[in-house]
Structures are given as C-alpha cells and as structure tokens.
C-alpha cells in the first residue's frame, strides 16, 4: 500500500502516525513545500519573540519520521493531482504515486488588494516559520511596523515585536480587536491594556495606500512604515485539490470519514469544511486540535480502520502581553433567546462570560480565568442539559462536582473522557 500525504503540519503528521499504527508495512510519503520538519505553526510568534528556537519549535522529536518510517520530501509543492492514474506531480519534477492520498494543505494568508502595496518591499504575511525568519532578519530598534489585522495573528505578531522596534501600529476594519471572538466591551478592555505596552490601534480604519516609507489610512492619517505585516486572515489552501476536480466550497468538502468527492482522496485540517456541531452546518474551523483529529480520522480510514469525525466547534486558547483568553462555542450571538451571564473584575482584568440556550451551554469566554475551562468545553461538546447538573454553573466556579455522583464516577473510574 502506498500512502501519500500533501502537507507536513499537524493534520499530515497525525495522519501518518495513525496509518503507521494500523499498517506496519505500507509506504508513507509526506510532501512539504516548506524547508523545515513539522513545527508548531502557532509558535512562530514565540520564535520571533525569541522564546523558542529552531530546535524547540519542532512539533515532533528528531526521530519521529525515522521511527514511523515516513519518507518526508521537503521543498516540494504538489502541483497537480492526477486522480485517474493516482499520481501527484511535485515541484521538484518528480511524480509520486499513491493508493490513498491525503490533502492537508492548510491555510494560506488572505491578502486584500491595497493600493501601492508594491512600494513597500518589506511586506510580509505571518503564517509560516519562513515569514518569522524573514521578519527577524530585518527588524531593528528603528523599525516602524504596521500590522494590518487585529485578529489572533496580528496581535501575536505585535506581541512578538513589542519592545524590539520603534513603533507598532495595528490597523483593522472592525471596530474592535479579535472581533470574531470578543464582544466590544472585553475587546476594549484588552485594547487599553495592550496600548500601555506601546502598541497603537487604528480601528474602524484601513490602509488606503502604501508608500515607500509610509502608509496613508482611510481617515487620511499618515504613518511611517518600514515593515508592513498583512495579517487580515487566512483561507483554505485548496489549490492542489482543485487540480483533481475535487468538490470545493469555501474549503474542501469532505464527509465524516474525511473522504473528498474523489475516490481514494481524503482531506483534513484547515483546508477543509467540517461539521460545526453548534450550527449543524459545514464550516471552515481552522483550529489546531481539529486538524489533529481530522488527520487522525483520515489516517485511520486510509489504513482500513473505519472511523468517523464527530464534528467540532470553534475554540481558542491564546495568550498575549500576559493576558490569557480562553473561549469556545458561540460568544457573540445573534439569537436573542440566548442568555448571557457576565462576571467581571476590572481591577484584576478578569472576565467570565457564559452563554446558554435551551438549557445548554453554547459558549464561553474567560479572560485571565483559565482554570478548569475544559469542563465548560465538555458541557458544550457533550450536549449536557444544565438542569441535570448539581448546581447552576453561573453561580459557582466550575468543577467536576457539577456532575451528579454516578456520572462523575463513570468519568473518573472508567476514564470516560467524552
């Protein structure tokens, strides 16, 4: 059996590992367009900040590929998938045949058209280790950095550069930072906190034009700019999938076995659309744990052990500038029937938001209150009826003591981690 995997990040490597677990003999090849072994992609900001080095950023230990007998081909982009002859053409000129193929090509940065962007030679995106390495080389304490995008990627870039450069300005079209995760009140609180660390925000604004050493914002303001980081967002990388005529909406369409519309081709990770159990719709949920589970599910099915991906929902744990934010599910609901419970302490900069609907928890956001957050996540994941619990979760800190004794015992003694 020949297994071929396009993409060498979390979905690709977890797929390969699962295949090897089930099939000791099959031949496994991973194609990666990058020049490094698998690394923790969200760690590139830690790398840029100098908190992890080239060695520590590696996602798997040095022996991972050898121990699992995985043939990794670096610097090789998959150019074309020929599903009829089951062959993939690589950018290194070679052809790779397969019996089962996984597409785990991840995300690519979304860069909107900006007038004059070609004038700024130091324009970067911030998604790959290569990006961090390029930025690392060029920054000095005199650099004026403009970051377009006040989402997760933009803020992590700002954090990494804080204290290393002359100025950091973050520009976003939205009226608040991390608009997809935070409500306006919390966002404002975090913004004020970060502003004390010498990061300036230009919200409800955008870069209208890029000059050689400056940018002009939509409101006419002109800011000096030596380095421009485009961190507006990401989109599924469906390029390779499209060459095989695979069905693609926003992301690659897969079923619960992670099979695409073309036989013997599977897909997993940020490049796919999968079931969001809260909206019961297929969505792009570009999340690390999701990619791991999908890769593993695909690997299992590819190597003959049937397995279904149960679906997931949005979730994030992020730290920046010493702030810790954990959130999951729906945090900014449109539905008026959703009950929202908020508990906050401005002095301590803590904030807890729980959202319930029809006797169920559908989302939460915890600012600097991470303890035991996973129990809330499990209440969403397991579709737990809140009136079956020992106490009102909005009235008391969460613990396993929230579960009635029989359920608690089942979890603790039978290791039921569902």
């Amino acid at each position: 059996m020949e297994y071929l995997i396009i993409g060498n990040s979390v979905a690709g490597t977890s797929c390969a590992q699962k295949i090897r677990f089930n099939d000791k003999k099959g031949q496994i090849t991973i194609l990666s367009e990058e020049s490094f072994p698998a690394y923790g992609r969200p760690l590139i900001s830690y790398y840029l900040a100098g908190k992890v080095d080239s060695n520590l950023i590696q996602y798997r230990n040095d022996d991972f590929y050898r121990e699992n007998k995985i043939n990794v081909v670096l610097n090789c982009k998959a150019l074309n998938i020929d599903s009829k002859n089951k062959k993939v053409k690589g950018s290194n000129g070679k052809e790779y045949s397969y019996d089962k193929l996984l597409i785990a090509t991840g995300s690519v940065p979304f860069v909107p058209p900006v007038k004059g962007i070609e004038n700024q030679k130091n324009t970067f995106t911030f998604l790959k280790l290569e990006d961090a390495k390029k930025i690392e080389k060029i920054i000095t304490d005199k650099s004026n950095v403009i970051i377009v995008g006040a989402g997760l990627i933009g803020l992590k870039a700002a954090e990494a550069l804080a204290g290393k450069v002359a100025s950091i300005s973050v520009v976003d079209l939205a009226d608040r930072l991390m608009a997809s995760v935070l409500d306006s009140q919390t966002a404002l609180r975090i913004q004020k906190y970060i502003e004390k660390r010498d990061v300036k925000f230009y919200l409800s604004n955008t870069v209208a034009e890029v000059g050689k050493d400056s940018v002009v914002l939509k409101n006419g303001e002109k800011l000096p700019c030596d380095i421009l980081i485009m961190a507006v967002g990401v989109k599924p990388n469906t390029e390779a999938a499209l060459t095989a005529g695979i069905k693609v909406n926003r992301g690659i369409v897969v079923n619960e076995y992670m099979e695409t519309s073309v036989k013997n081709i599977y897909a997993a990770g940020d490049c796919v659309e999968s079931l969001d159990i809260l909206s019961n719709q297929n969505k792009v949920l570009a999340l690390w744990p999701n990619a791991y589970m999908q890769g593993e599910t695909a690997g299992s099915n590819m190597s003959g052990v049937e397995n279904k991906f149960a679906g997931s929902f949005a979730m994030n744990a992020i730290g920046f500038f010493g702030i810790q934010l954990i959130s999951a599910g729906i945090v900014d609901p449109k539905d008026e029937k959703v009950s929202i419970y908020i508990e906050e302490n401005e002095k301590e900069i803590t904030y807890k938001k729980l959202l319930t609907l029809n006797n169920k928890l559908i989302g939460f956001a915890l600012l600097n209150l991470p303890d035991r957050a996973g129990i809330y996540t499990s209440l969403i994941n397991d579709d737990v009826k809140l009136d079956s619990l020992n106490y009102d979760i909005t009235k008391k800190d969460i613990g396993l003591n929230v579960f009635p004794q029989d359920i608690r015992h089942n979890k603790l003694f039978r290791g039921n981690n569902k």
């Binding site: 992890v52 520590l56 950023i57 791991y292 996973g374 129990i375 396993l400 290791g415």
Partner: protein
C-alpha cells in the same frame, strides 16, 4: 495501566496530597523548604462536594486518558503519551498557551502559578520514584494506585 483513584468516602479534604505532590516535584524534596522557597503548583485539584448533610471531598489528578484530548490540542508538541500510557508534558517545549486546559474535560491540567515559567502542572504519576507521593501520604487511604482493569 495504573492510575490514581480517589475514594470520596475516605477523603477528609486535608490537602496533604497537595503538600506531598509539591514536595515530590520540588528541587529540595524537603517539605518546609518547598513551602517556603519553591513556588510549585501541585498537580492535584481538591474538590468539595456539596451535600445537604455534610461536606465531602475528593482529590483529582490527570486521568491519563486512553485518547487524550490535551495531546491533540497541544500546539508545541510538549504534551505526549509515553509507551507506558502516561501523559507527559515536556516543560522545555511548553509555551503555556493553555490549549490543554481548554480541552481537558476533567479540568485536571492546571496552570502553573509561577509566572516566570508559564507552563502547566499535571500529574506524572511520580514516575521518578514509582509511587505517587499523594497516594503514599494520604492518611486515610482515600487515594489508591490501581490498575484500570482492577477498577472496572
């Protein structure tokens, strides 16, 4: 594999398991020095169960899940399951993002309170000594090291 199981009926909520957990993971291995000089977060959560009659307690450690969510959620590769089934965290690799805390359904991964080293604290079953310090020092046999099969 063997794990630590808590028996609610026997638990006094005394907190000795936490004290010995901290000491076992200290540099000095001395109970007083650990308390005074080493800022260690125990890998145990002591929970209170509310009942109308009396308060009862139990101590919780990592369940070393067969299919651990924390390992899948870990963005740095610090969290892994070893050959013996123990879920471990490589401190050097951990960046303290708390993705493991976000997904652990038991709430058994704690953030380390030592702010300089933003990492997490979780039960390693005291692999170095072979016997978990919490089990060994529980005064009322409320914590037992038992085989999974034995428990079922």
């Amino acid at each position: 594999m063997k794990k630590v199981y808590a028996f609610e009926k026997n638990c006094l909520g005394c907190g000795l398991c936490e004290v010995y957990c901290k000491t076992a993971h200290s540099k000095s291995k001395d109970i007083i020095k650990t308390y005074r000089k080493e800022n260690i977060t125990s890998a145990i959560v002591i929970e209170e169960i509310l009942s109308p009659k009396a308060k009862t307690y139990f101590a919780l450690q990592c369940r070393h899940c067969a299919d651990p969510k924390c390992v899948k959620a870990c963005i740095s590769g610090a969290m892994y399951k070893d050959q013996n089934g123990i879920v471990k965290n490589i401190k050097e690799k951990c960046v303290g993002c708390l993705s493991c805390v976000l997904v652990c359904p038991f709430g058994a991964v704690k953030r380390n309170k030592d702010k300089e080293r933003k990492i997490i604290s979780k039960c390693d079953l005291c692999i170095e000594t072979g016997t978990p310090a919490c089990v060994e020092n529980c005064p009322n046999n409320a914590l037992k090291l038992m085989d999974e099969e034995e428990v079922k």
